[in-house]
Symmetry: C3
């Protein structure tokens, strides 16, 4: 018996189910447009086989790690390297991958009805032909089967990219990244389109570790004087041009909040000076981040790069986990978000500029119907990023549509982001989004809220067209 229900995520009622099935059939094999994610571009540059099932599926997946930790499984037992240690080293010799895989199998019930399990079972069945649920009795056989498969050429990164029908894959890259991997991909003659995204958080957040040194490197890299405001801004412009030259169409900005500011130029310069001298007062780091969002929006008006804003996560919530194992271990926790007041300075500065596209994400679903749909349904620059992170799930995506469509429509949204570093799961993620959207459209039709003739066009828009257009791909 297969792991996957062919009608999964479709409505129960027969007419709606039939409509959803038909809509899905039209979009299921469309190319995968991946405008935002965290796949390592070096994988495509080197095109080497993945190490083992644990290194491929478990260790990079903070969704899996966090759930196991929440039920008492330790990160050491999972083989997560201690901070500063190379993988496999850690505190003494790490566990064998097979032992970790058995641990995952023994806790597989924790993931019932979570997107993680749906994604992984999609991968297990479609990539490896597995039809039995992972369990202590199947763990070894499935480990072996996956290990054998990923050692073959068909499972190398470029082969997977092609097999999946990926049209374009954007990575996320630090402002100081030399983009060597992207250059190597281009130089290789391989036809895949893997493009960088400009993510300057480490050189815009005065509270980031090593901020001053990072600004020095930014200056060295660009030849600009990053000791002064004008030079600092010029350095960003130079890096953005460098990214664009390597195919980038977008920038991405993480921040504790969506706060923006539009200070007079002299005040902004003075603020920068205080921060650069380490003389900033309380709240000035936040003010600087806020000002920089508006500066980046202005640069986007100049150079046409699409701007993404991902606010609202309190990073590294557990001091113990951060001290022991570093960031990205599943301990980033959302906080309440505010957009209406926060975005006003930026929107007053450039909110009606015809060249600006600002895609905003949220982790606080209360903000969707209250603030984000009303804002995106009014400002020409604004678009709503899809259901993000914890909400990248069947119910989360459904709530996103229910809470935004009536106010912002479909065309102020931007399709799907897989937002993942798990290359093998990319088709599973897109398929989940396409199914949820087709189900939503089908139910609208059955409820007389959408003409049936319009549904196929919308299904294609949500699957590929909106992403291509919004990200200028």
């Amino acid at each position: 018996m297969p792991l996957l229900d062919p009608d999964r995520l479709f409505p129960a009622e027969p007419r709606a189910r039939g409509l959803a099935r038909a809509l899905h059939a039209e979009v299921a094999s469309l190319p995968l447009v991946c405008p935002h994610g965290h796949v390592d571009p070096q994988w495509f540059a080197a095109d080497e086989p993945f190490a083992d099932p644990v290194a491929l599926f478990l260790l990079p997946d903070h969704y899996l790690l966090r759930m196991l930790v929440s039920q008492g499984v330790g990160l050491d037992a999972l083989g997560v390297p201690r901070r500063g240690a190379a993988p496999g080293q850690g505190a003494g010799a790490g566990p064998e991958p097979r032992a970790v895989w058995r641990l995952l199998a023994a806790h597989w019930h924790l993931f019932l009805a979570t997107p993680s399990r749906l994604w992984l079972e999609h991968v297990f069945e479609t990539l490896f032909g597995i039809e039995a649920p992972l369990s202590p009795t199947t763990a070894d056989e499935q480990f072996d089967r996956i290990a054998a498969a990923i050692a073959t050429p068909a499972f190398r990164p470029r082969a997977l990219y092609e097999r999946f029908g990926i049209e374009v894959l954007a990575t996320t890259d630090a402002a100081l990244d030399g983009l060597a991997a992207h250059r190597a991909i281009a130089a290789s003659g391989w036809g895949g389109r893997v493009i960088p995204t400009y993510r300057p958080d480490a050189v815009t957040d005065p509270e980031a570790p090593g901020f001053a040194a990072a600004l020095d490197r930014l200056g060295a890299l660009t030849g600009e004087d990053t000791g002064r405001w004008a030079g600092y801004l010029a350095a960003h412009r130079a890096r953005r041009a460098h990214f664009r030259a390597h195919g980038a169409t977008a920038t991405d900005h993480g921040a504790p909040s969506a706060m923006t500011l539009d200070l007079p130029a002299a005040e902004a310069a003075a603020l920068f000076d205080r921060i650069r001298r380490g003389a900033a007062g309380p709240g000035e780091a936040a003010a600087f981040r806020a000002q920089m969002l508006t500066e980046f929006a202005r640069m986007s008006c100049e150079d046409g790069m699409v701007m993404q804003l991902h606010p609202g996560s309190l990073r590294n919530h557990s001091a113990a986990v951060f001290a022991g194992w570093g960031p990205d271990r599943g301990f980033d926790i959302p906080v309440a978000a505010e957009y209406t007041v926060a975005l006003k300075p930026l929107l007053d500065a450039v909110g009606h500029h015809p060249r600006l596209t600002l895609i905003v994400f949220t982790l606080d679903e209360a903000s969707l119907s209250r603030e984000l749909a009303p804002l995106a349904g009014a400002y020409p620059c604004l678009r709503l990023g899809p259901a993000w992170w914890f909400h990248d799930s069947p119910a989360g995506m459904r709530r996103f549509r229910e809470l935004t469509t009536e106010t912002a429509g479909f065309f102020n949204t931007v399709g799907f982001n897989d937002d993942t570093r798990a290359l093998p799961s990319i088709p599973a993620r897109h398929d989940m989004a396409r199914r949820v959207d087709c189900a939503f459209l089908a139910e609208l039709v059955v409820a007389g809220r959408l003409p049936e003739a319009e549904a196929p066009r919308l299904a294609r828009a949500l699957a590929v067209d909106l992403a291509r257009a919004a990200y200028r791909l």
Copy 2:
């Protein structure tokens, strides 16, 4: 093929659909009770034909304007008059109505699955016999058909009022309004019941433009000394009496937040003095608005006027739109709302008064189950206003019922408000609300949560009885 599905907004499952259909059949042709809206009373006083389809449907509808602007259509291209310009003048000659109509038609897909499209298609089909969707190919024909129809006597305001089966229509009128239109209607001998609502925001908000002059006019109008606290309150009492004499049963209060205060009389008087002298400190404008809400609640205990509170919108969010085209262009954006702490002073003052009815609205759905349903399910004065503004939509109304019924029941809600200045769409709006409520009741019955025998009575209550009772109509 008609635009409207006869089973629109009903549940998909057959038994629930059948129940919803039967319930709707019982309420579909009940009179329309319209206790809160923004139709211009002068239309009924003059009873002249509407100018053209664009002036009738598009220009007064901020839902339509905002969505078009959000996708890059400019307000000038839509013929929205520039601030200070008379309609049709603007920055040079405005566009022809037909050209604007074509623009709407070319962007009609933006409104798929929005209430705007459902309302307008209801109007197009039921008033004008249109059965093809608006599109570039049908735009001209439909423009002509509508233009021809509205030139006929059957489409004048009084005729529409009668054809729609409106039982009473409340308008919203500034405190300083002379109510000439209402007097003219009464003097005309026409039988329609068009009543004013006392909306004193401009003379209670010290931050409103022209506040001091407005208070002077309030004094002149009433013969009270609005330079002093006692006279200012007396002036409000006089204006309320004036409104009641013209049929008003309710007042309405917009405010940035639901904050109330109940200062000792001497402190309130001193606060008024500082505000009147322009000597108020930071936060005192908010304090004054908060105090006035409690004063108005006290006046309602005296005179029996039903009090409505509409908080939580940040008005004129876009400085550019406000500077260019003025208010009410779709750029009012909600912010997070708080009621539990905010309303306590007012409720401690008069919350158990047997004569007070305070109807509270929200734009922040998170407050519904958290605060408003618990408050309305306890205080005898409180009632929940229906899903408001961006939530006046199928999914918004559904969430309203789901988030409030279990805690506040049905009888602490007040039925439907169409809240519109779009006279022709009033039946469409009531029909949407009636369908959503009938669907909700039908699903409760199917889930064994409501006895089937009780559903028809509830459907009538939600359609007309609760509104009549709550607004004392």
Copy 3:
């Protein structure tokens, strides 16, 4: 015709309904595990008959009182004793129970589609064989029937406990409570398991009335010097041991917010000294409550008691009701809640301790998907308490699952709490929860999100296993 639909709360769609029905059949008669509630243990110690239908059903039920008050029925008319008066005395002679019952009957429509009505009709039908809805025409007959039944031995507290299949019933008891009732139950030789829960709010909240005197009594009771920080903490340890000796496995903590602190020991001692001397500054009462939550978490690491946190209610919102009739009359109103920042100090102190279980509840549903599911899906100590208070309802429980399952799974939740002082309604409440959970599981199966073979195990886990495990019963 019976009051109860045998398929109540199940999905409408036939396949899902069939699955839900089958799942429910497997769990419907499992024992009732009641780890959190407010039944008076003295009832089981004395095992006397209940007085009359009003004393049994109406007077202790703040859900019923508040709804009646919200529609203008006064607490005096309902026979709620005035503050300081013994029941039945009040302001003059109270109304006859039969008259109050008629009042309830006349307002029974207010409760349509509320959980109160579903619970009570379940009781009426299953305990008393009533099949007609309560109404003015049936009120007297039903009053007599209930009154006659509860006078019989089969309706005494111990008989009900046994008939209901209760496995364990935890009461909630103040820190200073001598637990005489629990001792009497144990001494009686009766086999029921009625255990206390340590609820120390009155001796941890400096703003509680009589706080200083309560601390003196705490010292006297334990022989510890509660004038000093070390002695105060030792006194808590002693009382916790006393509660454990009487069967307690858990503590419970109410607080205005979830704020925690982890001050250095010397600072905590100094804070305690200031509070004990009445010399605390603004905000220090809150700081003390916050510190005590972390202290209690540390004690739980030592003694293994499960910790429950119930924040977010503004108690006694109506000054008039509190002055007239005291607390617990339905006028406790939720406020917005924050957990991510608030819990960090406690979690940094002991969040990874293997012995700690901290069960967190919320009244602010916006916090479920935003904060609580992400936190509980990461920290090993954290578990999510079930839908609480106003959300202990079919739609509330459904939202709880929809908003938490995808991020925290099922195994970071703890099953159901009936949380009631209404002994006769306990089976009704568990049955509602079991039905809603079975419906949720059935819909997941139909949507291909959960393997059908896993559903029965999950249904049992949600009905009994998770509660047993989380509360260490």
